[in-house]
């Protein structure tokens, strides 16, 4: 296990900067997920840690050693790629053993480690097969197996579940979480899927346009987003955002009404009020009642997503239990609780705690 420290790391392709002076600490044994929209630089950052991309400025340390100029093979890490990157001409056994053979490890030690990995990942019957004879899930297991046989101090995962179907993705997610608990090794995991991020991470770093917007536990990110970007990025379905004008301890939401701001939240001028779909109640009774009309109902079984058009023309997404009897086109009243809402100033930064 090793900690990873990124200090003022910069990366640019030609004149195009992609990583802007990032500072990041990953504690030993931590499962850090880098999450963000496409093109935010999360994979580039991971590849820089792996030694597959050069660092233009700043330092990357693994343990207490600066590794900027250390080749990937000497960083004592393993990486699982999105495309699995299994060697197509080698059997599963050879794929697992290849890295160890390069380390000139004794043959019996290689055999022991390969057998252990095969047992942990339940791929023993597949050992003599070629990658083309494996399903997507089996390939992913082999790719993970190839990573764990090296018993590295750091695991890197670059969207490893993206190529799997939804059911297999859930299964592999659970297995990866189990593997992390079993090995306890430091893991850095890149994904654009926030469900993966929320369910697996001990901490999440949200990246956007080459900067870290917020680092925190899944709970912190969900309940206390530092800014508007994190608030809307984390959470599925997405947080509703309403534009408002703050006057001290009240906020006038255009076309809806006035909301008394909770303790500790004060503002002047333009603000945004963010309300998660599950925090909007159906019916009267909240701090602010809003009439609207149901424009679309999405039935998901255990829950429904109700799209409500307000008189102002804005649309709110509301999450309701699956047995709620709500139909397209019918009038509806929504209640908003001031305490459960999130408030952001004109720059998009969180107001209050």
């Amino acid at each position: 296990m090793a900690s990873v420290t990124l200090s003022k790391v910069v990366k640019a392709y030609g004149n195009v900067p992609v990583i802007h002076c990032i500072d990041l600490e990953v504690a030993s044994g931590e499962f850090l997920v880098l999450v963000g929209p496409s093109g935010c630089g999360k994979s580039t950052l991971l590849r820089m840690i792996a030694g597959l991309e050069e660092v233009n400025d700043g330092t990357i340390s693994i343990g207490d050693k600066i590794v900027n100029d250390l080749p990937a093979s000497q960083r004592n890490l393993s990486m699982v790629f999105q495309s699995y990157a299994l060697y197509p001409h080698m059997s599963v056994r050879k794929n697992l053993a290849f890295g160890l053979t390069n380390l000139r490890m004794p043959k019996d030690e290689i055999a022991r480690r390969v057998a252990d990995a095969a047992r942990i990942l339940q791929i023993e019957p597949l050992m003599e097969r070629k990658p083309r004879q494996l399903s997507g899930g089996q390939k992913q297991r082999v790719a993970i197996g190839r990573a764990i046989v090296r018993e590295p101090q750091l695991f890197l995962f670059d969207e490893p579940l993206s190529n799997l179907d939804a059911e297999l993705r859930v299964q592999m997610r659970v297995e990866l979480a189990g593997l992390y608990q079993r090995l306890g090794t430091t893991m850095i995991y890149v994904t654009h899927d926030q469900t993966e991020a929320m369910t697996m991470a001990t901490r999440i770093a949200v990246l956007n346009k080459g900067i870290v917007e917020q680092i925190g536990t899944p709970y912190e990110l969900y309940n206390f987003p530092r800014n508007r970007f994190v608030a809307t990025f984390i959470g599925s379905p997405k947080m509703n955002m309403l534009e408002a004008t703050a006057r001290g301890d009240t906020a006038e939401i255009a076309g809806i009404g006035t909301l008394k701001l909770p303790d500790g939240v004060r503002g002047q001028g333009s603000i945004s009020v963010g309300i998660r779909p599950e925090q909007i109640a159906i019916g009267d009774g909240g701090a602010l009642s809003v009439p609207g009309k149901v424009s679309l109902v999405e039935y998901l079984g255990s829950e429904i997503f109700v799209y409500v058009t307000l008189p102002s023309g804005e649309r709110l997404l509301v999450q309701a239990p699956g047995d709620a009897r709500i139909h397209n086109g019918e009038p509806i009243t929504l209640s908003i609780s001031a305490a459960q809402a999130h408030y952001f100033d004109a720059e998009g930064l969180r107001i209050g705690t």
């Binding site: 792996a50 030694g51 597959l52 080749p71 990937a72 093979s73 890490l77 393993s78 990486m79 790629f81 999105q82 495309s83 990157a85 299994l86 060697y87 197509p88 001409h89 290849f98 890295g99 390069n102 380390l103 190839r146």
Partner: protein
């Protein structure tokens, strides 16, 4: 029978007649298509058949008759032709085999090295060197023949196999390099990256990952290299002076005598034998060639 039933019967008869007519038309079209294809194939294969037939004919029969079938097959053309020249064809075939095998090995190794560098490694002036290499594809061999000859003359390599073989070990054939570059570029870079993390040097990545995955491209290059070297006439003509060192194409030329009667039957017999290795290679490896060309994006 009601009118409706009669009408249905008429319709069924008409449909059956229509189907029959359509099937007839399809049969006629297929027949004409096959006749055309067979005729076209015959035109293509006729020179080969003519050579094969001529190898079994007496000299006066070769140019005297239009028919392909020999009146009296002259199997002696093969046995006599083999030893008709001052040096036996065993020697010529051996010489051709040495030059060809070394050229194929040289081409495959050196061109794949160069292609790997262009496809996967980063170095200063890569684009410039690549453009320069591609430009050599446009220069006809005859243009560089004299400067090359003078160079090899200075080196004292004339009348040896070195001018025919050594350049092959120096990645001199841009076509094969280009072919392999295209192939290498299709291999996912993640494989290289995974291998880097697994502790491979660039050479080890080439040797353990890229090369085994590029067998179709290597086979394609090897087979084309084999064919072009085996049937090369100009190179050996320029650099080889001693009949003992002649390759098969040069030996075949010796059958055409300007001051005495040429033994055409024997020459064609030896010509038939000379193309056997090429046919054999092509038949064995044609699937790899086609796969290689298809996978490397070459048409």
């Amino acid at each position: 029978m009601t009118d409706a039933t009669a009408s249905a019967t008429d319709t069924a008869i008409m449909a059956a007649a229509f189907r029959e007519a359509r099937a007839k038309r399809a049969r006629r079209a297929a027949f004409l298509k096959h006749i055309f294809l067979i005729a076209a194939s015959f035109v293509m294969i006729y020179p080969l058949l003519w050579m094969l037939a001529s190898s079994l004919k007496a000299d006066n029969e070769i140019f005297g008759q239009l028919g392909l079938l020999p009146a009296d097959p002259q199997w002696d053309n093969y046995t006599q032709g083999w030893n008709a020249l001052p040096v036996s064809f065993t020697n010529f075939f051996w010489n051709s085999a040495v030059v060809t095998v070394l050229s194929v090995i040289g081409n495959v190794i050196s061109c794949s090295f160069a292609a790997y560098a262009f496809a996967r490694l980063e170095f200063n002036g890569k684009t410039f060197w690549f453009a320069l290499m591609m430009m050599t594809l446009m220069i006809p061999y005859h243009v560089v023949l004299i400067p090359q000859y003078l160079t090899f003359l200075q080196l004292g390599w004339v009348n040896t196999y070195l001018p025919l073989v050594v350049p092959r070990f120096l990645a001199s054939d841009a076509f094969f390099i280009f072919l392999m570059i295209q192939f290498f570029r299709q291999l996912p870079r993640e494989l290289d990256e995974a291998a880097m993390i697994d502790g491979c040097s660039p050479f080890k990545i080439y040797w353990a990952i890229i090369l085994p995955l590029s067998i179709p491209a290597m086979a394609t290059a090897a087979i084309f290299s084999f064919i072009w070297t085996w049937e090369d006439f100009l190179g050996p003509l320029v650099y080889l002076n001693d009949i003992q060192d002649y390759t098969v194409p040069l030996a075949l030329r010796m059958f055409l005598s300007q001051d005495s009667v040429s033994e055409y039957g024997q020459m064609f017999a030896m010509s038939v034998l000379s193309i056997l290795p090429i046919i054999l290679f092509f038949v064995i490896f044609q699937r790899l060639i086609i796969r290689g060309i298809a996978m490397s994006g070459m048409k």
